[in-house]
Symmetry: D2
Subunit: 349 residues, 4 copies
C-alpha cells in the first residue's frame, strides 16, 4: 500500500501524468508553525530541470496545503498536500508501448495489474517521490523543533568515483548544494560531473551512493524485535526507486572486523553514555543510542537510456529499444532530499 508509518503516517497518491501528486500526513502534532515555505525548499531541491545534470522535464512542483493548518499553525488534523503535474507529454513515450524497458517497472506492473499508464513510469515514476519529500519536510521540522535533529544527505560516490573525506560531524546542506552533483568534495565532484556528462553524451546512465547522517537523534527510538530502527530505516530507504543496497554504521565493511576492534567503547557524554567510535552507526540492539545515525544507500544506474538495447516485446518478439525523451543519466543528486525525507519519516513514525 501507499502508506508509511504508524503514529506519524504518510499516504501518497499520484503518477507521472495524472492531474497531480500529493499526500496526506497524519499524526502531526498540533500548534506547530507550518506553511508551504517549510515544504517548498526540499521539493525544489528534488524537482527536475535544476541543472544540466538532470532530466530536462520542467516542473515547478509548487505545493499547496489543503488542510490541517489555520493561520500557519497545525491543528493536529491530517495535512493534505497537493502538487499539480504541469509538463505532461504522453507522446514522448509512444514508441515504448510494445517494449518493456529492461530493468524498469514496465513488465512487472503490466503483469501484476494487467494495465499500466500509457506514459511509461506511472506510479514508478520519480514523481511519486514528491509526496514523500513533502511529508518528510514536515516530519523533519517536527524532529528539529522537538529534538534538534539535523538530517543531511550527500553524494558519496558516482560510478567508481568515490569521496573519502569523513564529513559526518560537519556536513551541512549548504555545503552539499554548493556543487550540482551534491558531493561536498569539490575536486571529486568535478570528476563526477565529467563522468555524468560522459554518460549523457553516450545516452547511457550511471549509479551512485548517497550517504546520510542524522545528528541529535533522541536516545531510545526503535523497537527491540521486528521494528528495530535499522530495519525501519532500511525499509524506508529501500522503498526509494532504484535502490539496491543499504548499510548502517560499519555496514559490509564491518563484517571483516574483529569484535574487539568493532565494538564501540562507552564513555560518559553529558547525561548519557556515548561511544568513542561509532561503528554501530547510532543504533545498538535496534534502538538509537544518541550517536549520529550514519547510513548509505546504493542507487543503480537509471534503467531508461537512449542507447539501443536488444530486448523483446511484451509478447516475446526480439526488438531493439532506444528510449527517446528526457532521461536522467544519474539520479543520486536529486535523490538527496528523498533520502532525507525518508530518514525523517522513519524516525518520526
Amino acid at each position: 500500500m501507499s502508506t508509511f508509518g504508524t503514529l506519524f503516517r504518510v499516504t501518497t497518491f499520484g503518477e507521472s501524468h495524472c492531474a497531480g501528486v500529493g499526500c496526506i500526513v497524519d499524526g502531526v502534532p498540533p500548534l506547530m508553525a507550518l506553511t508551504e515555505a517549510d515544504i517548498q525548499p526540499q521539493l525544489s531541491r528534488r524537482r527536475p530541470g535544476q541543472s544540466a545534470l538532470t532530466t530536462k522535464r520542467d516542473e515547478k512542483d509548487l505545493v499547496r496545503i489543503m488542510s490541517g493548518t489555520e493561520h500557519g499553525v497545525t491543528l493536529g488534523t491530517p495535512i493534505g498536500l497537493t502538487v499539480p503535474n504541469e509538463d505532461m507529454r504522453p507522446g514522448d513515450y509512444g514508441s515504448m508501448s510494445d517494449i518493456p524497458r529492461p530493468s524498469h517497472a514496465d513488465y512487472t506492473y503490466q503483469y501484476k495489474y494487467g494495465t499500466k499508464t500509457s506514459s511509461g513510469g506511472g506510479r514508478a515514476s520519480a514523481r511519486e517521490t514528491i509526496g514523500r519529500v513533502a511529508a518528510g519536510a514536515i516530519a523533519e521540522k517536527f524532529l528539529r523543533l522537538r529534538y534538534g535533529v539535523e538530517i543531511v544527505a550527500w553524494v558519496s560516490s558516482i560510478g567508481d568515483i568515490e569521496m573519502k573525506e569523513d564529513v559526518v560531524d560537519t556536513i551541512t546542506r549548504e555545503r552539499v548544494d554548493s556543487h550540482p552533483t551534491r558531493c561536498p568534495d569539490a575536486a571529486v565532484a568535478d570528476q563526477m560531473t565529467a563522468l555524468v556528462q560522459e554518460c549523457r553524451n553516450a545516452e547511457d546512465s550511471v549509479g551512485g551512493v548517497v550517504s546520510c547522517v542524522i545528528r541529535n537523534s533522541p536516545v531510545g527510538l526503535g523497537e527491540p524485535c521486528f521494528d528495530k530502527l535499522q530495519a525501519t530505516l532500511a525499509h524506508a530507504m529501500m522503498s526509494i526507486p532504484a535502490t539496491k543496497g543499504f548499510e548502517i554504521g560499519s555496514g559490509f565493511r564491518g563484517t571483516t572486523q574483529r569484535g574487539s576492534a568493532h565494538n564501540d567503547m562507552f564513555v560518559r557524554k553529558g547525561d548519557r553514555l556515548g561511544t568513542v567510535t561509532n561503528n554501530s552507526g547510532g543504533v545498538q540492539g535496534g534502538i538509537s543510542n544518541g550517536e549520529p545515525i550514519v547510513l548509505r544507500v546504493a542507487f543503480k544506474p537509471p534503467a531508461t537510456i537512449g542507447k539501443e538495447q536488444a530486448t523483446v516485446t511484451y509478447d516475446g518478439t526480439s526488438a531493439v529499444l532506444a528510449a527517446k525523451g528526457r532521461h536522467d543519466p544519474c539520479v543520486v543528486p536529486r535523490a538527496i532530499p528523498i533520502v532525507e525525507a525518508m530518514a525523517a519519516l522513519a524516525l518520526a513514525e
Copy 2:
C-alpha cells in the same frame, strides 16, 4: 512491536531466561498438512551447541504446536507455538550487571525501558529468533506447496575470507550443511573454520556475510510504493540481531556500472518474460519478476567477547569488562535458518 506481516503474520514472545519462547502465526491457510516435524528441522539448524564453532549453551529447542491444527492439518486459525527454555544460567551474567556491554543492547534497553533482564540479552538474546524460525518454517512450507518456492541461504564470507563461486542456481541446504561453517565451498570453508577458531582462542569474535536465494518466486509480489519487495525484504533482514547491511541483486557493486551494462535484457521464458542477466536480483519496480531473488546480509562481529574491553559502567565510571560465559565467536553459520525464515515471512506477508 513484535509483529511482522499483514496477511501472513507472526507475533513472537520470549527472552533468554524466561519459561519459554514462541510465537503465534496468523493467516495460515486451512487444510495444509502441518506437524512439529515440519518446523523442528530449522529450529535444530538454529539451536546452539551444534558444533565446536558455536556457543556451548545447550538447548534442545523442541517446538510444540498448541493450536491451529487438528489431525495434522491446519484449520485456518492462529497457530500457537511454544519452545521451553531449559539451560537458563542467570548466574553467568552476574558480573556484567553494572557494565553495559559495548555495542550490545544493554545500554539502549536500560535507557528505553528503565530495566532489563538480570541475564544479559533479554529480548535482544538470540533466543528471540526461535519464534521467527518456527514461523518461517510454516511460511516456507506454504510457499513451497503453493508455488514451489525454494529458499536457500549460505555463508559467503567470514571476516575477509570470501567465497567466489556463483551457486545461485544450484545451491541446496544439504550442500550448505555439509560443512559446519555452512559455506558450500569446502576449501574456503576450512579457512573460515580456522579463522573462527583463532577468534575463539583469542576470546574475540568476527563478522560475516550471509547470501540467500529465493527460487521459483511467483511474479507480482511486492507493492509499488513504500512496500516494494526489496523494502520488505530489507526490513525483514535488518530486523535480525547484529545486521549492518543489506543488498539485493547487484547491490553496492551495481552503483559503479553503466545502465547499458546493468540493465537485464528481456527474453521469453515459457509463459512469461525472463531476463538474460539478473542484476535486478529478481525484483524490478519493487515487484518480483520471476527470476531468482538474490540478497546478501552483513552481520557484524558478536559484541559479547571474553577479551578485556576498557569501557564505563552505567554511571560513567571507567571499568574493564571481560564477559565470561559461553559466547559465539561468529554468528553467521547459525544465522542461516534465520535468514531463510525472514525471507519466507517477507514473501508470505
Copy 3:
C-alpha cells in the same frame, strides 16, 4: 488516525473551513471503469442545502479525481480525490469562541489538541464525511460489479415517529429519495417533516435512526476473532459523527427471545444454505452467510442549536450559549449516503 481499512483503504483529510477536503483510496483493483460521475451522485445526496430540512450552508461539493485513473479506467494505484470548500464563513462562529458547545467536540478537541479551528467543528464538522462518501462510492461500485452487492439505507425513525413496514427485500434508493426525509413510508415521512420543522422553528433539534440493508453480500466476509463482520460494521458506523448505537439483525430486541425462536433454521438456497428467518442479520460467527445484512444506527439530536443553553465558558464561568448560524435540526436524511458509504468500506476492507 484518519485511515480505515486494510486491503481497501481510505485516508481522509479536511475540516470545515480549509481549502478543501478529500481522500486517498488505496487498494482499488485495476481496470475498473471510474469517473467523477460514479462518485458525484452520493456526494450530492450528502451535500447541505438540498431541501428545507437541512442546513442552509451552500456547497456544490464537486469532486475531482486527481490520480489513479487514465481514460476513465483505474490503474490499480491510489486514487486521490479532492473537493474544494466554497461557502466558508468563519465569522458565523465568532460568538462561540469562548463557550464550548454542549455535547459537541469543542471541549474535548481543545483539551486533546490545545487548539481548535476558529470556525467551530473543524475536523468534527460534517464536511469530514465527504471523503468517506467519495471513497464509499468507489467501494460500492467495486462490490456491485464484482458481486452484485446492493446497499440501501433509509430513515426508519425521527424522534419517536417510527416506520413499521419491513422493506429489507424491496427498498431502492429511488424510493428512499422520493421524500425529503428519506423515509420510504410517505405517511410516516410527512409526520417526520412536521416534527423536523417544529424543531427548526423552536431552534431545537431531534435525533433518529437509519436502517441499512446490504443485499447479495458474498458468503465468507469477516474474520472469526476480533474482526468479525459485525465488529467491523459497528466500528464503521460508530465512527460517523453523532452516532450513539448500533444493531445488527435482531439487535437489542433479540435479547428478549428464546434460542428456539431466535435461531434461523437452515434451508437450501441454490448452491448454498440459506436461512428461513434472518435474526442473525446476515452474519453468523462473525462471517457473512449470504442473507441480507441488516443493521440500524442511532443518531442523537444535533448538538448545535439556536435555543439558549445555560452552560459555562472554557474557564468555567457561567454563560448562556445561543449558537447563531445555519444548523441542521436533524441529520438523519443527509446521513443516508454516509451510512451507505461506511457499509461499503467495511465490506471492501
Copy 4:
C-alpha cells in the same frame, strides 16, 4: 486476524479442543508489578462450571506467564500467556457433524475455510475469549495504576426481565458477584435465575444485556475520525461472540430526544469541565471527556440448544437437530469479565 490494538496489542490463539489457548500481549510498559495472581481472578470469573446457571464443562483455566516479566515485574517485552485445555470431549459433538447448528458458526466456518474442528465451535468456542480476558486483566491493571480507571460490568437484563436502578456511580464487582446472575438488584436477579432455570429445563436458551461503566477515564482518549472512542469500543464489544447490539450513553433512546434535552451542559469539575447530565456516555466528538463511559451490549440467546430444531444438513437434506451435551442456557453472567476485558483493551490500545 486475531490481533486487537495498536500500541497496546493482544494476539490470541486457541480453539475449543487443542492443547491450550492463550495470547501475546505487546506494548505493556516496563516496571509494572505483574504475576499470575493479577490475571487469574478474571479468568476464574469467566470459567465454566461456576454455578448451576452455566455450562457444566469443567475447566480450571489456570494461566501461566511464559515471558515478559522477571521477579514479578514487567520488562517492557511481549507477555506470553498460556492456559491448557483440560476437559476435552470431542465425542460429545459427534452427532452434529452433518448438521450445521442454526445461528452458530458451523456453516460459515465450513464455507470460508473448507474445514472445521471435529468438535463443534473451534475458534468460535467461548474458549477463544480466555486470551482476551487474560490480556484485558493486564490492560486493566495498567489503566488502574496509571489513571485510577475502574471498570465494572453487570447484567442489566435477561430475556424481558430488566433491572431499572441506576448504579453507574456506585457499582462494584463485589456487588455484581453477590448473585450468580451478576445482576446487582437481588429481587430482579432472582427472577432472572428462575427464567434461566426454566430455559434450561426446556433445553432452550435466552439472551440478555450487559451494561458497563468505565470510571476515571482520562480525558482525551479517542481519535477524531475513524477511530472515535465509541467506534473502538463498539468494535471491541461487537467482536465478542453472540453480540447483536451496542449503545453508548443515551443510545437508541437518545434518538427520541430534542437536542435541548439531550445536550449535556458543562460545569466546572476541579481542573476540567464536566457535564451535569451524561447522555454522551463519557464521549464527545469521539474523544473521552472525563465523565463515566457508559455502554450496553446485547447478547442473543445461545444458538446451541437441546430442543429439537427442524433444519437441514450441509448438503441440504431435511434433518432434526437436538444438540446433546453441556450447553449454556444464558451467557451473560459469564460475559461480564469478557466485556470488562474488551473495555480495558479498547481504552489501552
